[in-house]
Symmetry: C2
Subunit: 231 residues, 2 copies
DNA sequence: AAGTGGTCTAGACCACATA
DNA sequence: ATGTGGTCTAGACCACTTC
């Protein structure tokens, strides 16, 4: 029921924006005016406004004031959970089966992985209720993740291990639809040419590549959900 | 070069986390300790810590202190730009061709759209350099967006119009890989069964559905990129 | 030149989780 | 019972932008 003053101010303003009462371009009252209106310190108003600005609802300009922002694109937060968690959430049994583990010398990792130095290559299949639902190909930079040389990844999928052991600073995902090749189809127990979701992820730590992974899901066994609330 | 004290504190701490010096679970010095170390007020430290907590780098617990977070899932910000902007960014000519516009009475919109009342149905094709690269099916709630009854959407894609005219509070995206049906393939000038990326988006304003849209892209003509920096 | 947001201070009190 | 984070205040000065 009761909320902080910060939240109340934020709520009042975003309600006016979302109701259309303050259309894009409207000037919001100055911080001093709002502080007087709420009978609080300007710092409290400022904090609320900063949060709204970071959420993209308003734009702030010195000397001019704060204005309701014009939306320019839809954005959404895509959660890419650990596959074991996905299966667990659906009440399915999860299993990882490694099919390859190889230490590669410098230059042997494929170009797309972006790893120039020595790397560890790992491939395997994720099963839910004993049905394969994703194949995974991964390369890990040994320079960036020296500890992974001691892991065999026979029982634990590398993604699960990396998540808890390696800090990263930037990640890029590419999502595509592709037809399953004959080899991929065999490992996923589907027909060649079936539409599959391809999820690629490059992970950096500072300027060094940490890992590149490609996961392939049969189209009817996986989808990605992204939710977004501006707030 | 020079930054605010807030940024400096944040940078120092995230550097220690990202370098691995402070692995997940490490207790970060108390706010009072950090304030003494930097010779500043606790509020300044608190602001830095709050930002780090919102970015997911740390977890704060009353009485216990703040701790380096254990990452549990990868998350990424998926930008879903207006398709006209995508084409423009690639230097391609963009064109929208409407193929259907129909006012529907209550109950006539498909269940998946979630719109119980009267709705406007719009379908069309997005072209880049005169090649179809997406088909779109959309339903707009007339109750939530009364102004759209006056739009014919012959020249402007509804997404472009809605972005600038309708405030929304929540959106959900679903991304899947599907095989093109015969009808879809014909409109996209591809072969039936081709792997396509299906992007669905439900948009709410408070508790009311505003619009539902499904866009279908040939797999080789579109992909989605999502970047993420924790900060 | 004037006035806005941006940052910071040195307190204060509170709520809550832990010990 | 204690000590942490959570919030807020009443000031202050600065930087930047617009007038």
């Amino acid at each position: 029921m009761t909320a902080t003053l910060d939240q109340r101010i934020r709520g009042d303003i975003s309600a006016r924006i979302q109701s259309g009462e303050w259309p894009p371009g409207t000037r919001i009252p100055y911080e001093t005016e709002l502080a007087a209106h709420y009978g609080c310190a300007r710092a409290t108003v400022s904090k609320a406004m900063e949060t709204l600005a970071r959420a993209g609802l308003i734009e702030r300009r010195r000397k001019a004031g704060s204005f309701v922002a014009r939306p320019h694109s839809q954005s959404a937060v895509l959660e890419v959970p650990d596959l074991a968690s996905v299966a667990a959430a659906k009440g399915e049994t999860y299993r990882w089966q490694r099919t390859r583990r190889a230490a590669l010398a410098a230059g042997e990792a494929p170009d797309i992985a972006g790893i120039a130095g020595a790397a560890l290559a790992v491939e395997g299949v994720h099963f839910a209720d004993d049905l394969p639902f994703a194949i995974e190909e991964r390369w890990i930079s040994l320079a960036a993740v020296p500890g992974c040389a001691d892991e065999d990844f026979a029982d634990t999928a590398p993604g699960t291990w990396l998540l808890g052991h390696v800090p990263w600073t930037h990640a890029r995902h590419r999502i595509r639809a592709v037809a399953a090749s004959a080899a991929e189809a065999r490992r996923l127990a589907i027909r060649p040419g079936t539409a599959c979701l391809s999820l690629e992820r490059w992970t950096w730590r500072a300027r060094d590549y940490v890992t590149y992974v490609r996961q392939l899901f049969p189209g009817d066994r996986h989808d990605l959900i992204a939710d977004f609330d501006p707030s």
